[in-house]
Symmetry: C2
Subunit: 321 residues, 2 copies
């Protein structure tokens, strides 16, 4: 890239997402200067040690000074308070964005604190891992992922386009939709999946008849897949469910109806109903792999150790007993 898209990028929060933006923006030269900050002194120190940014600011207000792009990368429950802190310090004409997994509530929380002359363009990069904190980030996190922008109705098209160019520079595809529609889409593609993963892991952990040790040993039968997203950051996810309550409960209601129908099919031995659903769901997987949103390698490409060549515990006669 010849000229950076932004002169001064301010990142409020350097967890998995914030620190990945810092690394990616530096790697592709999307911002001339990157300034980062974090709530705790320990995280700010770590950000400095990792050299995530050109400057590490001590306060949110100091971080946004003179920035032409500010991205708030904190759990959605804290976005309103951060907006209140940075509001008075924002440069005229700056773009303010975020990375929250919920958009309508976050926009309601942030917008009142942002002065006129600021371009507020909420965003959600649909990417992540089960790890958190400044050490967990990496520059490639957003490559081939989608970033959803939910600009308010009267947003400046030039500001939306500049933010879109920023996310494209980080490797993402960009799509624009209303905050309300985003929250419905994410409720089914992300929030309810996390909720049921957390639930089944908790259910398994509470059993008396099956020990925790058994649950873990025999987890390769499917359970372990759920434990990955059930290991995601508790603060982030508590905030997501509270902020997207209506859409989550609506999608959860549909899931519950469908699960009840399947339970009934099992109870009454309706094998055809089971078989039909199990066939249909294969097509969705195929579509996701074809879209490049997951690997087609078996088992997510998990590696397998080679066969052991060690001698067996004790000799056996070749001809049986």
């Amino acid at each position: 890239m010849s000229e950076p898209l932004f002169e001064r990028l301010a990142l409020i929060g350097v967890g998995l997402i914030g620190s990945s933006i810092a690394r990616a923006a530096r790697a592709c030269g999307a911002a001339r200067t990157i300034v980062a900050t974090a709530r705790s002194a320990a995280t700010r120190r770590r950000a400095a040690e990792l050299e995530l940014a050109d400057e590490v600011a001590a306060t949110n207000g100091a971080a946004v000074k003179d920035a032409d792009l500010v991205i708030v990368c904190v759990p959605v429950g804290q976005c309103g308070a951060v907006a209140a802190e940075i509001g008075p310090h924002l440069r005229e004409g700056a773009i303010v964005s975020d990375v929250g997994s919920v958009k309508a509530q976050v926009a309601r929380d942030m917008a009142p604190h942002l002065p006129a002359g600021i371009h507020f363009v909420p965003a959600h990069p649909v990417a992540g891992t089960e790890y958190s904190g400044p050490d967990a980030g990496f520059a490639e996190l957003f490559v081939n992922r989608w970033c959803i922008l939910t600009p308010p109705e009267h947003a400046d098209p030039a500001a939306v386009e500049r933010l879109s160019a920023f996310w494209q520079a980080l490797g993402s595809s960009v799509e624009t939709m209303s905050a309300e529609h985003h929250d419905l889409v994410l409720a089914i593609t992300s929030h309810v999946p996390h909720l049921i993963a957390y639930t089944i892991v908790g259910t398994a952990d509470d059993l008396e008849a099956v020990t925790r040790s058994e649950v873990m040993k025999f987890s390769a039968g499917g359970f372990r897949d759920f434990t990955r997203i059930a290991a995601s950051d508790p603060t982030m996810w508590r905030d997501v469910f509270l902020a997207n309550r209506e859409a989550v409960l609506e999608m959860l209601g549909r899931f519950n109806e469908d699960l009840a129908a399947l339970a009934r099919a099992i109870r009454w031995a309706d094998g055809d109903a089971l078989f039909d659903l199990f066939t249909r769901t294969r097509a969705v997987r195929r579509g996701i792999v074809e879209l490049g949103q997951d690997s087609g390698a078996p088992d997510f490409g998990r590696t397998h150790a080679p066969l052991p060549l060690a001698p067996l515990p004790r000799p056996y006669a070749a001809d049986g007993e």
Copy 2:
């Protein structure tokens, strides 16, 4: 291995599991001769082309002739019929086993057809991928996985030990338990996880407000993890749910209670209840990784493409608008 554990291994069915056993047993020399068969002529031809076995038999009866180990590798709903077919052809003293994900019902289906003098030792290797068929198998599938044996009460300890040695030669750890306990353990670690994965993928696919294209594009937020196991073999899984009905419905009932409690916590904004569960579930993930039952690499070790270095769509002024 100096001497093979078995003279003649017969595999009835060469799908993912059967063909993996064939490959693994050959690689580690656990059987001197391997004979395989399959219901359909096309699959038998494919088994021959892949050279999965030393011999491909045309019928189940012919396959088991003179075998000292017979492993039935077909969907659990077909195990009884296969036992009836092979019963009259089994060699005195042979060990008959299976690989079914349900043990009590399968034992009830198979045992009546096996003559005296046969050692019936049901087994379940807890391993697999979302793919099926003879091409999907590989020799390392069972390495570092558990194989659960559920020998009947009066099983010959020497036969149990020989089968155990076979699975260890294929790289597995072996544990023995009752069929009933197995079915409870697998209901929570495998069957209910598959059921809810199938359900959520079906629910997402049925929405009017969110398109299938949106579900697939934004699946990296969590949903795509569920689509992998929801792409598993429909016949196999229909049979599993029908054969393990009681345990599945029992575990599903518990899951539903816990999910209802979480939904209530969301509705009433009880953030502490959410946070507490989300913290507890992390420990289970950690345990699974420490046990070597999953990779600790972020995102299952999915790979990421590098950042694009292509020029941006159009030039932007460096100092903003």
